[in-house]
């Protein structure tokens, strides 16, 4: 909590992020290199063959899609309750990144499933939930883009983000229930302890790599947002 309040000052945020973002990016690259090395060194899976390699870029992308939305919703909450413009900027900045990672999760998920299911897309519980998540991102960005006033756009977006956050678990549950009606099993292997360590390590490293990469990009985007607002304020000043 102390770190959050320390970063909450825009000036302090700029100085911290100017150092932190490149460091996080460097760590992300390092982890990704090691992760991919290990991932491709692992033997092909008994059932899936070499396509198991796709897991190393699919699962982290999916995780980031959800994590970014959590960041978006959390920032929205702070921005709404405390009327903090940095939180507003953070929420706005997280959206395109989250949408990008969700999109990658959908595409890699499709490629991963094609050899196994014989179809480019199935309405599996996971993929369907992620498609809905992607649509939530699109709606959020569309709303923000259509409101000119910064503060109003931020508040409206925040309300939508929080409504969406409440909806997401319900979407997940209802999609699961709907899927179970049609006797579909979860086509994706359940990760976690069932996964062999030889796959778990690269997966974990890639997940961290993606996460650090997201944090670095998010910080940089927030910087861009702050500069954009400052440019806007200067334009208003100059007009006088």
């Amino acid at each position: 909590m102390g770190m959050i309040t320390a970063l909450a000052n825009p000036q302090r945020f700029m100085t911290v992020s100017r150092v932190a973002a490149p460091i996080l990016a460097a760590i992300a690259v390092l982890l990704a290199v090691v992760g991919l090395w290990l991932g491709f060194s692992a033997p092909p899976d008994y059932q899936q063959g070499a396509t198991v390699r796709i897991m190393f870029i699919h699962v982290p992308a999916a995780w980031l899609g959800m994590f970014a939305y959590a960041c978006l919703a959390g920032s929205s909450f702070f921005g709404l309750i405390f009327r903090h413009s940095l939180a507003d900027a953070a929420a706005r900045a997280a959206a395109p990144l989250g949408a990008g990672f969700t999109f990658l999760a959908l595409v890699t998920g499709s490629f991963w499933g094609r050899p196994m299911w014989g179809a480019w897309w199935v309405w599996d519980a996971r993929l369907t939930s992620f498609l809905v998540l992607f649509l939530f991102y699109i709606g959020y960005m569309a709303l923000q883009a259509s409101i000119d006033d910064e503060a109003k756009a931020a508040r409206a977006g925040a309300i939508l983000a929080l409504v969406g956050a409440i909806n997401l678990p319900i979407v997940k549950y209802s999609v699961d229930w709907w899927n179970s009606l049609h006797q579909g099993e979860s086509i994706f292997l359940k990760g976690g302890p069932a996964l062999a360590p030889v796959y778990l390590w690269p997966l974990g490293l890639m997940a961290f790599a993606y996460t650090f990469g997201f944090l670095a990009l998010w910080m940089t985007r927030i910087q861009a947002e702050i500069w954009r607002r400052r440019a806007g304020a200067l334009a208003v000043q100059g007009a006088r």
């Binding site: 649509l135 569309a142 259509s146 409206a156 309300i159 939508l160 409504v163």
Partner: protein, 221 residues
Amino acid sequence: MSGFGVLMRRELALAWGRGGGPVVAVAFYACVATLLPLAVGASPQRLAAVAPGSAWLALALASLLSLERLFERDYEDGALDLLALGPAPLEIVAVAKCLAQWISTGLPLALFTPVAATALGADPRLIPLTFASAVLGGLGFAFVGGIGAALSLGTRRGGVLIAVIVLPLFVPLVILGAGAIEALAGGLNWTPGFLLLGAYSLAFMGLGPFAMAAACRNALA
């Protein structure tokens, strides 16, 4: 409580008179129900398989129709400002508007949904559940849709933006409502879906007005 009665009367009059009220929504619904066999082919088995779900899809789309004007008219002519300053909290105003929307548009559509589903070939014994879930679903569509309508106030994008915001939020309603009917059709347990549909609609009847009021205040500020 009489204050709420006045509000409801006003909103019902607006909703009923607005652009033909339920007639337009039902007409739209009939068009969609007619287009479906034209698009999918009139083979009875295929139609019957998709009938309940398509009826629900058409219900979702028809519910989108009147959303745009839910807050917009009052916003444009200043009535929303007055309502915001008035004795009733904006949250109650939102409840009145969405309830009126549901009564004037949602219920007629709910009456029509089993008709359309049966016309498309659904089993007649599905009718009671179809009607019940359409009634509950209509309530959910009104209160969730109202959030989208309130958030889009002041933007000039109107209907399309509302659709983009609201349709993803409609997903649980469609899955649960249509899913319950499909479950019954397949002889599976339909109660979880139906109960969750009711819970979802009622939950948004409770929570939605807060979001709508916050969005209205934001637009008016």
